[in-house]
Every structure is written in C-alpha cells, then in structure tokens.
C-alpha cells in the first residue's frame, strides 16, 4: 500500500512539471466540450427555402406567408430558367416549394391539389426535418383555410417527456461528457506508461522492490485522481454553460463517473503496455478512443440504427454505458432503477481492462 502511494505521488509530481500534458489534461478537454456542446446540432433552424409561385393568388400568397411564418424557414430569391432546381444545385436554397398554376381555383373547386417540394437530400437528416416542416405547414394552412373540418374526430394529446422544448443541448452535452472523459484520461495514461519504457526508466522500476500490480495501481491511482479533477471541471462547466441540472438522484452519476474514469485509465494502461512507442500509443488511443466513443456510443445518432454485426460492439464500450448514466442524471431522472445495469457493466469492463493490462505487463517483464 505504501509503495502504491509513493508511486502515485511521484507520478503527480512528474505530471505537474510537464506543460504539454497539463494542457492536454485540462485545456483540450474544455475546448472539446465547448465545440461539441455549442456546435453539434442536428436540426437546422432558418433553412433557406425558395418559393416558386405560378398561381399568384391570395391563396398561394397566404401559403407562402405561412411557410415563412414558422421560424424554421427563411425566404430566398433566385431567378433563371429553372429557379427551383438551380437554387438547390447552387446551394442557395435547401428546399424549393412549387405552387402550381390554378392552385387556388382547384382548391376552391374542391379538387385535390399537390404542391411540389424539392428537397436537397444530400443531408439526410435535414431532408426529413424539411419534409416534416412543410407537412405541418400544409396542415396548418388547410385548417386555417377551413379546408379541413375544424373539429377533428380524434385529437391526439402529445406530451414530449423529459425535454418538452426539444433542446438539442440536453441531448448532446451529457453525451459530450462521455466522449471527453473517455478520450483524454486514457490518452494521458497511455502516454505516461509508454514514456517509462521509452526513456528506459522501466528498468529502474524492475530493479526496485515494487511489483507489477503495485506499479500499475500506483500509476493508475495518480491518473485517476487527475481524471477526477478533469471530470469536475468538465461536468461542472458543462452544467453551468448549458444550464443543466440534476433531474433526479445524482448518486448513480457520482458512482458511474468514478468507475468510468477508472475504466478510461485502465484502457489507457492497457494500450500503453502494449504500444512500443508514444507515437503508437497516441495513435492507438486517439483512433480507437475517438471511433468507439464517438460512433459506437449513441452519442449523436441512436444506437439501434447500427446494422447487425456491428451493433454488437457497443455492448462492450464503456462510453455507451456512461452516456446512458449521464443522460439519465441530467434529463431522465429515473435514478438507480433505470441505470443500475450500466453501472455494473462499467465495473465489469474495468475489471477486464485491468487484467489485460496486468498480463501485458507480465509479458513485458519476461521479454526484457
């Protein structure tokens, strides 16, 4: 125990002296939080739309007004031989609404009329958003013009739970905690581990009476403490800047964070033990860490959209469980009842990483 603490203290002293790693530990995570938190949005607001009105009637004008009256679309002008298609090709507008001639006369006569909407579907998600937006504008328009019965037989009372204002930050920011706290602590740990070997100081460790497990625990403990400081900074600043507050019992998040940070550290140790050079360690952690926590964790897009063989991978990715816990703490608020399994999984994965790292270290010792 004493040896573990001594090792831990030595690591902390070493850590404080290195400017680049200090920046890596605190500055870059913070910048990442800011960029992810502010810049990652899926739903466009103010989508540029061009209206080509062949009817020029009061009715068609009131449709146009309705369309621009939502805060979702902004008007764009474009002229040319084929303004609708050209404007989308040139990227001037994301959608074009074409109101046919005889629109008003057909509507008045009770003949079903179609309004054609061209959508730039290069961005798939926003194509759907545009479709939904135009659809609801059309419905409003019909109700407004009394083309639909004003009282409907079935009324749906819809409630959006947890996030009635549909704030995207509530979804993205708790996820960002998972990504940031996965990538950076493990990167720091891996670098620290490889450095020992690159500088040759690992030999000194071998000659001392500290055992392999004690070395791992001592190093791990030091970086775990650093990671906790990072977590306090990131989660605290995130909550402050994006107005998050606990929706329920915060203890699962507390425990979950501590275990998740340990996972992250152990993952770094595991790669650090395996890698031969710092270059390799940095590449390994940044590639594997980035890909797993960003793509296979449900951070941006729903996990159940991942196709079959690949969909098995998220089950062994700690960031995925931590994001569940973090979203529960800040948005859902179901507490232990909802997330106990995620906390257990984090624990199990941590145990696995530790064993792999220990085995790797044993082998390292034998070969020398």
């Amino acid at each position: 125990m004493k040896r573990i603490l001594a090792q831990c203290k030595k690591e902390l002293v070493q850590f404080r002296r290195d400017r680049l790693t200090l920046a890596l530990a605190f500055l870059l995570p913070f910048i990442t939080l800011l960029i992810f938190g502010f810049a990652i949005r899926l739903e466009s607001k103010d989508i540029p739309v061009i209206v080509q009105d062949f009817d020029h009637s009061n009715l068609s004008r009131s449709f146009t007004e309705r369309l621009y009256g939502t805060n979702q679309f902004t008007p764009r002008q474009w002229s040319g031989s084929n303004p609708a298609r050209d404007a989308i090709d040139m990227g001037i507008a994301k959608a074009a609404v074409i109101i046919p001639p005889k629109f008003s006369s057909q509507v008045r006569a009770g003949i079903p009329t179609t309004i054609q909407v061209l959508v730039d579907a290069a961005d798939v998600n926003n194509a759907r958003v545009v479709q939904a937006g135009v659809q609801s504008v059309t419905n409003f328009f019909m109700q407004d013009q009394r083309l639909l019965p004003t009282t409907s037989t079935v009324t749906a009372h819809t409630r959006l739970w947890f996030n009635p204002g549909r704030l995207e930050s509530l979804f993205i920011v708790p996820g960002t905690f998972g990504v940031v706290l996965w990538i950076f602590p493990s990167l720091l740990m891996a670098i620290a581990m490889v450095r020992e070997r690159e500088k040759g100081t690992i030999l000194q460790v071998y000659t001392s009476n500290i055992s392999a497990v004690e070395l791992l625990l001592g190093k791990g403990l030091a970086y775990w403490l650093i990671a906790i400081c990072e977590a306090i900074l990131i989660i605290g600043m995130g909550a402050l800047l994006f107005h998050l507050s606990f929706a329920g019992d915060p203890t699962p998040l507390l425990f979950g964070t501590l275990i998740f940070l340990a996972d992250s550290i152990l993952f770094g140790l595991m790669l650090g033990v395996k890698a031969d050079s710092q270059a390799e360690a940095v590449q390994g952690v940044s590639l594997i860490g980035f890909v797993t926590s960003l793509l296979l964790s449900g951070f941006i897009y729903p996990l159940n959209n991942i196709p079959f063989p690949l969909s098995l991978v998220p089950n062994v990715i700690p960031a995925r469980y931590f994001i569940d816990i973090s979203r529960d703490a800040f948005v859902r608020g179901t507490g232990w009842a909802g997330v106990w399994l995620s906390v257990v999984m984090l624990f199990v994965l941590g145990f696995f990483f530790f064993n792999v790292a220990r085995k790797g270290l044993d082998r390292m010792q034998l070969s020398d």
Binding site: F63, P112, N126, V134, T138, L310
Partner: protein
Amino acid sequence: MRRFLNTPFFALVLKEIRQILRNKQLLFLLIIPPIVQLLLYGSALNPDVQNLKLGVLDYANVYESRELVAALTENGIFAAQTPPVSEAELSDRVETGKLAVGVVIPPEFPRRLAAGNAEIQILIDAVNANTAGIANSYLSQIVLQYNRRLKTTQTALPVQAQVLFLYNPGLTSSWFFIPGVMGLVLTLIGTITSAIAVVKEKDVGTLEQLLMTPAASWEILLAKVVPLFFLLMGDVLLALTLGRVVFRVPFQGNFLLLMVLSACYLFVTISIGALLGTIYQQQQQVLLTAFFINMPMVETSGAIAPVESMPPFFQTLSLLNPMRHYIAIVRGILLKGVGLEALWMHALALVVFAIVLVTISTRQFRNQLS
C-alpha cells in the same frame, strides 16, 4: 529524361520512396485506418427515424382503435412492442427508455368517437430532441389521415405536399457521411504522415547529413512531399472505390475536377503536417499537437453533423476550416453532380489555403535549415 534522373532531387525522391516502402508503420497508417474509418462511419452513423419502439395501451380494444394502431405501425417508422398492461407500466417503460413512444387509447374511445370528440394520449421520449421532433410530426400526420378516413371515403387531402428528395431519393445516410469521412481521413493521415516524415530526420539526427548534400533546401522538402502526395492520392482513390463498392455512393460529377481539388486539399494537409514537423523536435510532440489541431477541425467541418445546423458563430468560424470546404466539394461533386459554377467559392478557398500554407511551411523549413 536522363539529365533529370541524375539530379540530386531525383536521388532524394528515390531515397524517400525506399524509406517509405521499408516503413511498415507508415504503410499500415496509409491503408488500414482509412478503410476501418470509412466502413465504420459509413455504417455506424445513421440518423434514420425507423422502428421506434411503440407501446400501445388500448383500453377500448374495438375495431376503430385497432384500426388506429394499424395506421400507426404500417409504415415501418414505429414498431409495436408487447403492449403494456397499465398506465404505470407504460410510463415506466417510456421513462427508462425501453419505449420511444407510448399511446393510450382510453376506454370511452368508441363512445366519444361516435360523438365526434375522441381523444388519445401520446407520450414521446424527447431525450433525443431530433428524433422526437421527426417522430412527433409523423404521428400528427398519421392521426390527421386517420381522421380523414373516418369522415370521408376520399383519401386525398385537399392540399398535399408532395416531397421529392433530390440527390439522395432513398435517404441513404451513408451517402451523406462517406464524403465527410473522406475529408476526415485525408486530414488525419495527411497531417500525421507528413509531420512524421519531416520530423523523423531530426529525431534520428540525419538532417545534417542531408544538408551537406548538394541538394537545395526546397529540393529536400519537395522530395519528401512528392512520394507522400502520390500515396495520399491513392488514399483518395481507395476511399472513392470503397464508397462506390460497399455503400453504392453515386458519382454524379466530374472525376477530373474532384481529383484536381483533392490534390489541392492534399497540399493543405501535407503543409499543415510539414509545418508541425518543422516546429517540433520529436515525433510524440508532433503527434499530440496534430491531435490538438485535428479534433476541432473535424468537429467544425460538417463531417459528422451538418454545418448548416451549427449556430451562426460556428458557421462563420468554419469558413476558416479548409476541411469544411473540401467536404462541401466532395458532396457537391459526388451527390449533386455540380461543377465549378456552384463550387467555385469552396474551390477558391481551398486554393488560397493551399498557397498560403505551402508558402509558410517552405519558408519555415528553409529558416530552420539555415
């Protein structure tokens, strides 16, 4: 030709090519990560709204209510799960995220339907704001259609918005992401490999030897860059082939234009890498700094989440990100099939970035030598 083959420049190029071919790590870096990333991003990133888990608590359980449930589930957007037995169970399952949407049809539904004022309750799990918004609009559309079916036999609405999806009629998400990942891969691999190529000479201490050869400093740098440039062009072709074969991404535009602009972009990434290589002395510092620079660049480029959805400030900021322009160009050429008439601004930006960065990095390299 013979005279060219005898120049110090050609000898240096040969030396670099030999070094690259012997460097297993570099070759690995040029081939494996691009393939893995393209495949992963292409299949894992998917904003589809489909098979949302729907739980219906149907207290009425009559023909009309079953009709409504059928209307909800017949389009593949909602997938019915085992029906909950009580309202408590329904809300519990929505709370814990086991259901995305919960619908309650009250017992008095048939009676009120006859009276013409029936109500149903819909709960949507809105933690994921984006999915919830789209699901919500689908739901109201379905209820609207159902209403109409009750009243008239005529199914067509008086005004219908017929939506035509251009460029990607099937809304295949990988078509959006593959061009983004191409930009991402070229940026990551380009900066790292060129930075390593420049810094390694210093790290190992062979730069002085190079300086004693009759080659000029620009020749040394160019000789380093040229083989790398061709290998990275190979990566462009690799990415295009993978996109075409695995994900069936269309290629609507001009191949030559894409290659020329890709070359332009490679100059940008190689110069960034070379610049990093001249600043630092060791590989690990270079790699860490590359990581510093690449992360924000990737995040604001529109590779993962569209630029148009970002807040205005970040949209303006992203104009300074060469990767954003490159991705816009690749999407434009591949999906839209447009040419310079639509992309000239992005192309111009790339050319300017390339010229500025190449100038700075050569100057830096020269300064460092003297």
